[in-house]
Symmetry: C2
Subunit: 387 residues, 2 copies
């Protein structure tokens, strides 16, 4: 058995954003040596790992060279060079989640086809190789309006996704591989994070509910547990298990789902890593999602996914009128509210809708927690510094 | 108001041991810039701060130079040069806890006299300037056996403390300023951590119970809450408040107390910093002690000190038969137990009874938590590496 604690073992993490940064807290707690690579020399993770290097995550040679330095490689972002991961595996390097899992997820067209092949319910969709093909589909009457356009690659935080209501709107879309998806008339968006270790031990977190910001198409609140019936929750957990078992992932798999007006559940998309919908777990759960990801990929026993108490997470995104050195207006005020913990990602510059941090609110009563979350949202503003 | 979050504000921490390391996790969460100094280039904090430097904490010039680089100075160990802290304050530098508070605590003879002056109940004691004076006191029949000998300075983790049962045993003691204290016939050792902010906001953690290792004179288990009557707990909290108000400290004050056979409460000693008796709070409390220390010294609102769930902490100390590169035997096994989180301090070398980490066990039922703690203790061994 490999020994990770205060040893020479080296964990490599591709990507140095906030997800990596929060994962690093738990590597420190276990005193696991960490190597992080990110293209941005100011990446949030830079000061929390043992070794940081600047490099492109999409460049084959760069990822190969980085991977060879470590004993086990993981990632905190899907946009990494999969071929390099494959070749590192072929050289006997441990890569979790595997190249094969990431390959099925990285491209949304591939991901959607995977659901179809595996009888996993998802919104109806068509795949188009480029904008010309999409336009042809529209002009031939094969697509109904409105529909959801999704770029096959490169989308995150609501980017690369648009609701297209008319023929004219198509002309503003970029010329990339894409999918056109039926607009689901859902009543709730939910998510389940499933953890699966190298040995195949599986534990799922409770179903959470995601409330979206109406304009920015970004999650504004995450509630744990979701305010849904036990029946629907149990169907969602079951479906999440099925998705997890089909992907045969190692590590976390965050499964975002729609609950339709008829209480049907459709898989929207998945992410093979710690996820925004799991941030509540830092203060809310017996084992937070970052520690759980580490336990899973290191093949340690998984921790309990039960909640210590109910929780709501509020995303802190840049106010749309400010760009520049960040200033968290009102943060002292929200810290006076009971059970409120801000998590600041460490990005110096704010931009409209940029994810700058999140705030967890824990409370035994979920309605109380949601009410405090609304207060938090109204009091804190991510603007630029007045100094 | 000063802005701490993703700003140019610089927090300095004297000492880079495990307490500093754990405090740094919370500075990362808030993205507060940190400067740490420790004499040991391999100190646990070295990889968790923004800037680390090697330097003597007792050297006046070194502490002055370090203090001038930062906006606010705190410490994670009492053995620092108090004169330098005083002079930094005179230059207008913020130092929390203050030099005046530390001065009253650093020397145990001064600390005990302070209790006497302030009508704070404590075990009877006499102060001796050196070994000769102590011997004289004994030969003149002013001290009864057995008594507790404590070095006035430099003691920690049970070092610098001995129970002296006979005249002969005195000859093995070092020639230092010391106190001779009545041996208290206590039934329980307890502690309360009081947090007090710059503005004077005060919040106390629940009373915890400390179970000692019979040989090493080190705390083996800490239970939150203590298994004592509500009456005794309330008396203890009241006394802790009084001690806190007399010291007028800023930051945390950990107050260790004895509960005598008659349910009287005596103050044993205090520490003006995060404390071993508060480690349970990392998983157990709404606000952990390290975050609370930061909130207090930065004059942010204090967080809730309530427990999310009951907790027991187990200290991980080096097995007495091993010295060398550390190896945590059985750690995978204990991680399979419910609600168990190991915290590894990041010291490469184990030595007999060296504090290497701790394990938190959380459970809604304190007896269950204590039972799991015993299992943890029996399964994990801190030995040296076989590789």
């Amino acid at each position: 058995m490999t020994h990770y604690f205060s040893s020479d073992f080296k964990l490599g993490i591709l990507g140095g954003g906030q997800l990596g940064k929060m994962m690093l807290y738990d590597t420190r707690k276990f005193d696991i040596q960490t190597f992080v690579m990110d293209p941005n020399p100011e990446a949030p993770s830079r000061v929390s790992c043992n070794y940081f290097e600047v490099g492109s995550l999409m460049d084959y040679d760069t990822v190969m060279a980085f991977g060879k330095k470590v004993d086990l490689l993981t990632f905190e972002i899907e946009s990494v060079n999969v071929k390099a991961l494959e070749d590192l595996e072929a050289l006997g390097k441990k890569v979790y989640p595997s190249a094969a899992t990431l390959q099925k997820i990285q491209n949304k067209a591939t991901q959607k086809s995977f659901y179809d092949h595996n009888q996993i319910p998802t919104a109806q969709f068509q795949i188009f190789q480029n904008l010309t093909a999409l336009k042809k589909g529209v002009s031939e009457g094969n697509i109904n309006f409105p529909f959801v356009w999704k770029s096959a690659t490169g989308g995150y935080d609501g980017k690369g996704v648009s609701v297209i209501k008319s023929k004219e709107a198509i002309h503003n879309l970029p010329d990339v591989e894409c999918i056109a998806e039926d607009l689901v008339d859902f009543k709730t968006e939910i998510a389940v994070i499933v953890s699966r270790s190298v040995s195949g031990e599986i534990k799922s977190y409770p179903v959470v509910e995601m409330e979206f910001h109406p304009e920015a198409n970004q999650v504004e609140y995450v509630l744990c547990p979701a305010r849904i019936s036990e029946d629907v929750a149990s169907k969602a957990r079951e479906l999440a298990r099925k998705v997890s078992s089909k992907f045969e992932h190692v590590g976390l798999l965050a499964i975002e789902m729609f609950v339709t007006k008829n209480d049907d559940i459709l898989v929207n998309e998945v992410a093979p890593r710690p996820h925004n919908s799991g941030h509540f777990s830092i203060e809310g759960s017996f084992t937070n999602q970052f520690e759980q990801h580490l336990r899973a990929i290191l093949d340690l026993p998984l921790g309990s996914t039960e909640s210590k108490t109910n929780a709501v997470m509020v995303n802190l995104v840049g106010d749309d009128n400010y760009t520049g050195d960040v200033f968290y207006e009102g943060i002292e005020e929200i810290m006076a509210l009971p059970g409120v913990t801000p998590h600041i990602y460490g990005k110096r510059e704010t931009r409209p809708f940029r994810k700058m941090g999140h705030v967890n609110i824990i409370h035994s009563d979920i309605s109380e927690a949601r009410a405090i979350a609304a207060t938090v949202k109204s009091k804190i503003k991510v603007i630029s510094k007045k100094s």
